[in-house]
Symmetry: C2
Subunit: 151 residues, 2 copies
Amino acid sequence: MSPAAAEPAEGSLLLDDQLCFALYAASRAVTARYRPLLEELGLTYPQYLVMLVLWEQDSISVRDLGTALQLESSTLSPLLKRLEANGLLRRERRRDDERSVAIRLTDTGARMREQAAAVPLAIGDAMGLTPDQDALAKQLLRLITANVAAG
Amino acid sequence: MSPAAAEPAEGSLLLDDQLCFALYAASRAVTARYRPLLEELGLTYPQYLVMLVLWEQDSISVRDLGTALQLESSTLSPLLKRLEANGLLRRERRRDDERSVAIRLTDTGARMREQAAAVPLAIGDAMGLTPDQDALAKQLLRLITANVAAG
DNA sequence: CACGCTTTAGTTGTGCACGACTTAATCGCA
DNA sequence: TGCGATTAAGTCGTGCACAACTAAAGCGTG
């Protein structure tokens, strides 16, 4: 991690100067790395993220799931239907508020948690960062997310 | 940028411990920030990345474009058709190798570069990182990309 | 030269991601 | 109490992203 050889001019249009491209490329590369592991579980990457939330907090509304993952209902609704079709969760209208839909894991969905425990370990290994680098990367990424969302 | 309050256990399944999620969320947040700016140019974010490459190196093959952006021809071919339909570029078979297609900017596409110069500045501003943080983030992201691609 | 292998671009099918919109339920307040 | 505004989930259309595959061109070696 030595400093960059030559610091780019402000407002460069060179692809390799763009932080946004480094971000976009890294995100796709990591997702690609997950793909074969998740395929064994029959999950896509966004489906895996939904399962992570549900393993943390079962019986959550579509709205709160969207808040946690920063996804619209127009993305989540079909995704949740696919997970329901695969037997991992059930969707039921809340009786106290019929607008809201509660997402609950099935036994199959809950049991998948054990199998999934190996996944973050394998990916963490593949990313090959030291614990300090990992923490630093998370902090920088959250800072970026917070800043661009704010303006 | 103080250290994290509590370092997560290895292999945690908590969403907010996952570097992969921070990456995925940041990437989408940044793309969302670009959207209104690029809409004025009539571009999507991946189309903007293609234009960045072309402003750097005109008359490039689909293959080399794919290498630069780490995208498959199955993603690029339809995207390039849309850019061609919008009058920003032309596609022509190479005479010396009829398998290959050369992508060339039209005058309109080349002229868009001036308008686009403001975009990275605005985004850099919105990300709100110091030059050091920006450089560090790029280094970490490239390290992650290289590591996960390698294994 | 011939024929099989590789390379290049493109097509097809599936699943996100998001804007614009719809429907139904609930809320708030005049 | 009634009715307009708000909220929740979902549909639809467009555009990535990628795997699996196809078609056509070029290459290499017997």
